[in-house]
């Protein structure tokens, strides 16, 4: 029993870490460029598909995911330059609709190139084993690796934002875009770089997701909406909020799905628990979001409003 709880907790952390990678990119882009990008999930999808394909072509896992990461970054930058630049000055409604159109386009493009059936990746041997997390506790190596990578990226992001010049520009741009431009910084380039970082993060999440989640058109939107919940809970524009929100959402969702039904079964009849359990579990993160909003409408770590 304890083992089960521990395993699910780690799974929750793993989901949380992946949500963080997505949320960090999305919240960065919104914070700096004031851009609502619904197509962020599409970059995740691109990462997953490229990883699956490149690993197959090159026969090497490491090479494959490396190429996938670069590929997603390039796709992201291309999208930014071609389609998104015109949106920065537009209002949010236009951005929402235009990026929604991009989602339709990408989903269909993927379907044309790869078909609609879900793809499955096999992990290479050296990644398929288990690791000893605690004495007597074994956990899939791959998932543990995801957690490690995610936390490492979180640390790197923190260092980037707080310790580097780029990070300083990011923070400055987040609070006053016009001023940054007035100081002679190449804002266009800054935006492209920031978007590129976001795309890379999404691609990373996508390529890691490949082996454990189904790779199919539309996979981006499923995770995107969870990412929205993370951002609303954490507070838009805040990377710290994204991390806290992501871990919380990851935990609540995973633990809810695993334990709500048996927990309900102790107080309700088995058939009632059978229906109510999965139903409430699937709603759990949204109910959490509603609860947070009722108390703190701007999320847990709201940032200052930007001009």
């Amino acid at each position: 029993m304890i083992l089960l709880v521990l395993e699910q907790t780690l799974n929750g952390l793993q989901l949380g870490v992946m949500l963080f990678l997505m949320a960090a990119g999305l919240t960065l882009v919104f914070g700096i460029m004031n851009l609502v990008n619904l197509a962020h999930g599409s970059l995740y999808m691109v990462g997953a598909y490229l990883a699956t394909t490149f690993v197959l072509w090159t026969g090497s896992y490491v090479l494959g995911v490396g190429l996938a990461l670069i590929g997603t970054l390039l796709v992201g930058v291309a999208v930014e330059v071609i389609a998104l630049r015109t949106l920065y000055e537009r209002d949010h409604l236009d951005q929402v609709l235009a990026t929604f159109g991009l989602i339709l386009f990408f989903n269909e493009l993927i379907a044309v190139l790869w078909g609609r059936a879900a793809l499955y990746t096999r992990l290479p041997g050296w990644l398929s084993g288990h690791v000893q997390v605690l004495p007597g506790v074994r956990y899939p190596l791959y998932r543990a690796l995801i957690i490690a990578v995610g936390l490492l990226v979180a640390a790197l992001l923190w260092a980037l934002v707080t310790r580097t010049r780029l990070g300083m520009l990011i923070r400055a741009g987040a609070s006053n875009r016009t001023m940054v431009a007035a100081l002679g910084v190449n804002v266009r380039l800054l935006f492209t770089v920031v978007f590129g970082i976001g795309a890379a993060l999404a691609g990373l999440a996508g390529l890691m997701a490949g082996p454990i989640y189904a790779v199919q058109p539309g996979m981006g939107e499923q995770i995107l909406i969870q990412v929205f919940v993370v951002i609303v809970i954490g507070g838009i524009g805040s990377i710290r909020g994204a991390l806290v929100g992501a871990i919380v959402v990851g935990m609540v969702d995973t633990l809810g799905r695993a334990f709500l039904k048996p927990m309900l079964a102790t107080v309700l009849s088995p058939s009632a628990a059978d229906t109510a359990g999965p139903a409430i579990a699937s709603m759990s993160i949204y109910l959490l979001m509603a609860a947070v909003l009722a108390v703190r409408p701007q999320g847990l770590f709201p940032t200052e409003a930007r001009p």
């Binding site: 919104f30 004031n34 609502v36 389609a83 015109t86 000055e89 537009r90 209002d91 949010h92 409604l93 236009d94 951005q95 929402v96 609709l97 235009a98 929604f100 159109g101 991009l102 989602i103 339709l104 386009f105 990408f106 989903n107 269909e108 493009l109 379907a111 044309v112 939107e221 909406i225 929205f228 919940v229 951002i231 609303v232 838009i236 229906t275 999965p278 139903a279 579990a281 699937s282 709603m283 949204y286 109910l287 979001m289 509603a290 909003l293 009722a294 409408p297 701007q298 001009p307």
Partner: protein, 341 residues
């Protein structure tokens, strides 16, 4: 500028054309067209209901399809449990949609801008997952409707043409009700709050309760569309409330011209006909539709109604200019009630 008289004539002409669809279909012996246009009109109703809060209220609800699903499920669930009376079913659909809108609105209408978009999207997805998880009503396979809503002695929904005219009548009724609503004090307040929120508060308006009521009304109207939809398809599925459906409805509103009430009808006709034509041509029609929609948004800001009006501005608070930028540029805030300070 298009005078009100000319617009009224154009609208009457359009409705007449729609009224003649079954006649035309009978003449060419293609009853399929009645089905097609009935579906279009049902979505037109949903789009009109969204325009009330989006075009006039500036509330970008990406979760409007939720009420389509709620209305459909209200009817479907009652049918499943043996309640076939149309009056009971449809009243239930309206009440449940209104309550769901009230619950979602109470939490989300307080927020604004990007939060509002994300939150409405999230709640709609929540309902979608809820629908997926309830096996008794079909889960992700959905469920056949055992029988259509019964209105004994009044109308038989099995009669394709009669059903068509019922939908058209409801659409016309909603257009009229919507028109009265947006021109009354209630509508003016909501529109003023969209036009310049800080000025609205400075003259003494507190927008939140009115926005919430508008949100509920729009949800209830869309619930009716849901009840009609499930009767039309005779099939109940959580896909009715998938968030991409919300996006489609929103596109109908924008494409047709938001803040005009009739624009969304035109948008629904054009978008769904376009989908029909494109999907006959290729299974991958969305690869064309996606960019088309993006271009429409970027370059045809006033929608089809705006283009038909000859690009002239209308007096008196249409949203055809997307509400303007009262105090300078930058991305606009909309969609709810911002915090006070």
């Amino acid at each position: 500028m298009t005078s009100p008289a000319r617009r009224a004539v154009a609208i009457a002409a359009g409705l007449t054309v729609l009224a003649l669809v079954p006649v035309a279909a009978a003449l060419v012996n293609q009853p399929f067209y009645v089905d097609l246009f009935r579906r279009i009109l049902i979505f037109a109703i949903a789009a009109v209901s969204l325009d009330v809060i989006l075009g006039y209220g500036g509330m970008v609800s990406f979760g409007h399809a939720a009420y389509l699903g709620v209305g459909a499920y209200a009817v479907g669930v009652l049918t499943h449990h043996g309640v076939h009376n149309g009056y009971v079913q449809w009243s239930f659909a309206i009440v449940v949609s209104a309550l769901v809108a009230l619950a979602i609105g109470a939490v989300s209408v307080r927020t604004s801008g990007v939060y509002f978009i994300m939150i409405t999207l999230a709640f709609t997805q929540m309902l979608y997952y809820l629908g997926l998880s309830i096996e008794e009503y079909g889960g992700d396979d959905g469920m056949r409707l055992a029988a259509r809503s019964q209105f004994p002695g009044v109308i038989d929904l099995g009669n394709s043409t009669a059903f068509y005219y019922l939908v058209l009548a409801i659409l016309v009724a909603f257009l009229y009700v919507g028109h009265r609503l947006v021109e009354a004090r209630f509508g003016m307040l909501v529109r003023a709050a969209r036009s310049n929120e800080s000025r609205a508060r400075a003259v003494g308006f507190s927008p939140y309760p009115y926005r919430l009521v508008a949100f509920v009304i729009a949800g209830a109207m869309c619930g009716v569309a849901g009840a009609l939809l499930v009767n039309h398809t005779e099939y109940l599925t959580p896909e009715f409330m998938h968030w991409t459906r919300s996006g489609e409805i929103m596109f109908m509103v924008i494409l047709g011209g938001m803040g005009t009430l009739v624009g969304p009808v035109l948008g629904a006709v054009v978008l769904l006909l376009l989908e029909d034509v494109l999907s006959a041509w290729t299974a991958h029609w969305q690869i064309v539709l996606g960019p088309v929609l993006v271009i429409a948004v970027l370059f045809a800001r006033r929608g089809l109604v705006g283009l038909l009006d000859g690009g002239a501005r209308r007096i008196g608070g249409s949203a055809s200019d997307r509400g303007g930028e009262p105090n300078g540029g930058g991305a606009r805030r909309f969609g709810g009630t911002p915090p006070d300070a």
